[in-house]
């Protein structure tokens, strides 16, 4: 109904009107296209092709270097939390009875570096007060999920190697690479 009206109106246009309308449409579309590509190019420009990253793998010594003093684990099955690498490389190493894994010290909330409090057996974040158990699972504060785990493997020399560029979320904590069995 409406569309036939519109067609009717188009048919009634004089040639002059038709041409000037066509010119206007193509002119404005060219304008929009130029502006659009310019805009897209500008946005794309802000995504550099190459970013230089510092090396992301760290050798942290053989697995038996993470032997706990006693044999008591805490309520979360953790025997030992080792934060020697925290200030240099932003991860901590956690030893459970049968596995070793590396926790990213990057708070799952907004990325501050969490601190380990051995007497309380929790991680606390200085920025907005998120708190995590010794196994990295969040229990208080604004953090939405546990601390990420990092890829950890044993190399040919029997050394543990942590790769901070590969992270595992809670649904992948039990897959190969997220921990080393001992």
């Amino acid at each position: 109904m409406e569309s036939t009206d519109r067609v009717q109106k188009l048919l009634e246009l004089t040639r002059r009107e038709l041409v000037s309308r066509g010119l206007a449409i193509s002119g404005w579309s060219t304008f929009a296209a130029v502006l659009g590509t310019g805009g897209l190019e500008t946005v794309r420009f802000f995504y550099p092709r190459v970013v230089y990253q510092p090396p992301s793998t760290f050798r942290i010594g053989p697995a038996d270097g993470f032997a706990p003093n006693g044999d008591d684990s805490d309520a979360f099955g953790v025997l030992l939390v080792d934060d020697r690498w925290k200030s240099q490389s932003r991860f901590v190493v956690v030893r459970e009875r049968n596995r070793i894994y590396a926790l990213s010290a990057r708070c799952a909330h907004l990325g501050c570096t969490v601190n380990w409090f051995n007497d309380l057996r929790i991680f606390k974040c200085p920025c907005h007060g998120s708190e995590y158990h010794s196994n990295g699972v969040n229990f208080a504060g604004p953090a939405p999920r546990p601390l990420d785990r990092l890829r950890i493997t044993v190399n040919l020399d029997g050394q543990l190697v942590v790769d901070t560029s590969v992270t595992y979320g809670p649904d992948r904590f039990d897959i190969d690479g997220a921990f080393v069995s001992v």
């Binding site: 925290k86 200030s87 240099q88 490389s89 932003r90 010290a105 909330h109 907004l110 501050c112 570096t113 969490v114 601190n115 409090f117 309380l120 929790i122 606390k124 974040c125 200085p126 920025c127 907005h128 007060g129 708190e131 229990f139 208080a140 504060g141 604004p142 939405p144």
Partner: protein, 256 residues
């Protein structure tokens, strides 16, 4: 001499403001005019001079802070945002980052920009009054004060690990871990949210019919929505502080 220059002078004084709408209730300026030079210019000059003195004394007396060099491995404890954003940082305790860091700032900006399109009356324009614009001024001052209260909390009451430390408590004494938080189940959260906004939209119309009458449908709805959103912030803060509520509504996609 140059006559156009002279002609333009009184014209500028008398001409009705070019942008003003028909019926914009401005009195003609002729009643009591003052020349800008020197009557206004010297006041501006004095104000600038006073502020310069203040700033210079301040800059000579107190050095701007400069902490140790940036170190990605060690976060300052506590790590505070610049004071004007500490209010937002404090909000991060109570809301997920996309609400505290993106949603609320956007709503504040849009809400502020919307004010003149919602309140278009001319009652008591151009002078200070509290009594004659109680609603508008009350809500605005509440929001303004909330911003500053959050800044004061974040700046003066938050200590290591962003825990509350009263001014007389030492930062060296560690605080115990926080209790576990819990969230409303959806069958509680969803109706509560719906009721808050539903009743919030309906009740003022019931109680103050003139408000709806004066503002019309869309102005009324936006005014009430922005106001409800404003008050929802302290409500959530109290839920968190008093009842340890983490989320009011939990969905698979986002939490509020």
């Amino acid at each position: 001499m140059d006559s156009t220059e002279v002609a333009s002078a009184p014209e500028a004084a008398k001409a009705p403001p070019a942008g003003s709408r028909a019926g914009a209730p401005e009195r003609s300026a002729s009643s009591a005019a003052a020349t800008v030079f020197p009557d206004l210019v010297y006041k501006e000059f004095l104000a600038a001079l006073l502020v310069s003195i203040l700033l210079l004394v301040w800059a000579l007396a107190i050095n701007a802070p400069l902490l140790p060099e940036a170190n990605p491995g060690k976060t300052e404890n506590p790590a505070k945002a610049p004071w004007y954003f500490v209010g937002l940082q404090e909000l991060l305790v109570y809301f997920d980052p996309w609400i505290a860091g993106v949603g609320i700032p956007t709503l504040i900006i849009v809400g502020l920009m919307a004010i003149p399109y919602i309140d278009t009356s001319h009652n008591a324009t151009g002078r200070y009054t509290l009594g004659e614009r109680r609603l508008a001024i009350g809500h605005f001052l509440f929001g303004f004060a909330l911003w500053w209260v959050l800044i004061v909390i974040g700046e003066f009451l938050r200590g290591p690990n962003w825990q509350i430390y009263w001014p007389w408590q030492s930062w060296l004494v560690p605080k115990s871990a926080e209790e576990k938080l819990w969230s409303f189940p959806w069958w509680l959260g969803l109706p509560l949210l719906a009721a808050y906004f539903g009743i919030g939209l309906w009740l003022p119309r019931r109680r103050w019919p003139w408000l709806y009458e004066r503002l019309g449908k869309s102005r009324y709805a936006s005014a009430i929505l922005f106001t409800l959103l404003l008050y929802s912030v302290p409500i959530k803060i109290f839920l968190r502080l008093l009842l340890r509520v983490k989320y009011v509504l939990v969905t698979p996609w986002f939490n509020i």
